[in-house]
């Protein structure tokens, strides 16, 4: 593993991705310590007027919005929503996807047919429409967002896991485990899953970017995080009308935050894929890739 880790350290794009994700995650965790104002606090100048649409300056790094709220605080706290939904939804999609994918791959037959058919239905369904429909009918809220996005994403995980399980289950050590009397569940959990976690990890990391984009899109459309809780997509939507009148900062900073986080996860995922792909070795393009 020292070798793999040192190769990862040399992979500049992956390190850049790791850096972006880490910085944003730390900012989200320590938000109260690095921001000067509450994200929902409507600031008022000492003479009594609102601190409206102040351009970025040394006091308000990202400027303020029309309600007199500090955009830096809102962007930093907005990272919480994105990361929370990203991780929770990924966890849900992994839970469903790994379970169903492993069952389909290991047992095959009718089980496989049903699960694969279900996955195809989810693939064929327009992503955002599905979540919109769910969110529109049920009262909006964070748990609903996790569940909706997780449910939308399980099919990709399941398909990946199914394929991996299919290839691993033909290995001799699985046959040997069966010959020694291991039950189906034990063989899947103890013998097969540890052997396929690498590609699943890569897919989960790459999927985080997509999920964060999805959350931002939903919030942009007003179906996601409900105000006044800060969320990047919602900020972009709110600031949009002021873009052309000169108050560019309201939309621009949340937009850059989304870009940075999604880019970070994608670079990290690419790096992990290169790292965990056995076909890669040091002689083969570690520097030029990504």
């Amino acid at each position: 593993m020292e070798n793999a880790w040192s190769r990862f350290l040399k992979n500049k794009p992956a390190m850049a991705g790791l850096f972006l994700v880490t910085v944003i995650a730390l900012a989200a965790v320590f938000a109260p310590y690095i921001t000067r104002y509450q994200p929902t606090e409507q600031l008022i100048w000492t003479e009594g007027s609102k601190v409206q649409l102040v351009p970025p300056c040394s006091r308000f790094w990202f400027g303020t919005d029309i309600y007199g709220r500090d955009m830096f605080s809102r962007v930093v706290y907005g990272a919480r929503a994105s990361l929370l939904i990203g991780t929770a939804s990924t966890a849900i999609s992994l839970l469903i996807g790994i379970t169903l994918g492993a069952l389909a791959g290991y047992y095959g037959g009718v089980v496989d047919d049903i699960i694969s058919w279900l996955a195809n239905v989810f693939f064929a369904f327009p992503f955002i429409l599905f979540v919109l429909a769910l969110v529109a009918y049920l009262p909006p809220g964070l748990p609903l967002m996790y569940a909706a996005i997780g449910i939308v994403n399980w099919a990709g995980v399941a398909r990946l896991v199914r394929g991996q399980v299919l290839s691993v289950r033909e290995k001799e050590y699985v046959e040997a485990a069966e010959a020694l009397g291991g039950s189906g569940a034990r063989i899947i959990i103890r013998h097969i899953l540890p052997n396929i976690m690498a590609p699943v990890l890569v897919q989960a990391t790459l999927g985080m970017g997509g999920i964060i984009m999805l959350e931002s899109s939903l919030s942009f459309l007003g179906f996601g995080i409900q105000p006044p809780t800060p969320s990047w997509g919602y900020e972009i939507a709110q600031g949009r009308q002021y873009l052309l009148t000169g108050a560019w900062w309201w939309s621009a900073f949340p937009g850059m935050a989304i870009m940075a986080l999604v880019l970070g996860f994608n670079l990290l995922g690419d790096g992990l894929r290169d790292l965990l792909d056995p076909r890669n070795d040091d002689a083969y393009g570690w520097w030029g890739r990504g």
């Binding site: 095959g108 037959g109 290995k171 001799e172 050590y173 046959e175 040997a176 485990a177 069966e178 010959a179 020694l180 009397g181 291991g182 039950s183 034990r186 103890r190 013998h191 540890p194 052997n195």
Partner: protein, 324 residues
């Protein structure tokens, strides 16, 4: 006669590939007594391994199934047992080891975890107890420094050590029957000898019966008591080991023995068997060996010979066994 522990009767296992039927095992009979060592020999593709997997109930459902016959283990019909009961027998009362020690161990789990798992599954031990047992059983199969070995991953072990670890897992619960499918084919000759000696020793110590599947007649000669010769999915000859080598009856057995260097007379040209084994997709009618048999007569093309007693507890499936 000792107590019969395993009896296979008319076993038929077919694979289905692209709508075609492959009759890998097609009417196999054999018996195994308590403590006996039986060798099953035959060319690649004659159904040896399929027979073993059928007995263990390990034919993958997607590929094929046992379509006929009976497997009686201690009087129980294994083919009729529900999956859960069969699972409890596998690895405790009846175990199997495989050909490739390189791939039969899970690369991402330590030796200790894999060996201790058998105790956790069959004896319901806690992980700690099971690890202690794993150390004991590893030392019994001649693995040096087992206390350290349980923390190693399989790729750090040599082929011989891996096969020893596999054997440890297979005998952990003191099985009554151990099926060894080509256990030494992938090992160096010197290591082969050590592993065979280990298997013989363990067999004596545990008092288990062993089925040794191999294509190596040398291994058969030095390890087993009785031999079953398989051809195209069926048994063609059954004999004690000295009878088989001194006075083979079936023409196929004769050909097999003649094709091994050093077993015939020195200076003699190596014999062999003409042609190829038949495709299991398209088995010849009559005796399955007749297209390759130099003694074949009209009857061989028409009637399939039964496995009949030919004296001294020997069996042979040939119309002409005393006539050619």
């Amino acid at each position: 006669m000792g107590e019969r522990i395993l009896a296979v009767r008319g076993l038929k296992t077919h694979y289905y590939i692209g709508g075609r039927v492959i009759k890998a095992v097609d009417g196999l009979d054999f018996d195994l007594e308590r403590g006996e060592t039986l060798g099953i020999v035959g060319e690649s593709g004659c159904g040896k391994s399929t027979a073993a997997l059928s007995v263990m109930g390990l034919i993958p459902l997607r590929a094929g199934r046992v379509v006929g016959g009976q497997v009686l283990f201690k009087g129980k019909s294994l083919l009729a047992l529900p999956g859960e009961e069969m699972r409890r027998i596998r690895g405790s009362e009846m175990s199997m080891i495989f050909q490739e020690p390189m791939t039969s161990l899970n690369p991402v789990l330590t030796i200790g975890r894999q060996v201790s798992e058998v105790f956790m599954v069959h004896k319901g031990m806690s992980r700690r107890e099971a690890l202690d047992e794993a150390v004991k059983i590893l030392s019994q199969v001649g693995i040096p420094a087992p206390g350290q070995m349980i923390r190693e991953y399989p790729h750090r072990l040599s082929g011989g050590m891996r096969q020893r670890a596999m054997i440890a897992m297979a005998i952990a619960c003191g099985p009554d029957v151990l099926i060894a499918d080509e256990p030494t084919s992938e090992l160096d000759v010197t290591v082969q000898d050590q592993v065979l000696r280990l298997l013989r020793e363990l067999k004596e110590r545990i008092g288990m019966a062993m089925v040794l599947i191999t294509h190596d007649l040398g291994v058969v000669a030095e390890t087993v008591q009785n031999v079953l010769v398989m051809y195209a999915g069926r048994a063609v000859e059954y004999s004690d080991v000295s009878g088989l080598f001194n006075e083979p009856m079936h023409p196929y057995t004769k050909g097999l023995i003649a094709s091994v260097p050093g077993l015939g007379k020195a200076g003699e040209k190596l014999g062999g068997i003409k042609g190829e084994p038949p495709s299991p997709l398209d088995l010849p009618g009559g005796c399955r060996f007749h297209p390759r048999c130099e003694h074949a007569r009209e009857i061989c093309r028409i009637h399939e010979p039964e496995l009949v007693r030919v004296g001294d507890g020997r069996l042979c499936a040939c119309h002409l066994y005393n006539d050619w």
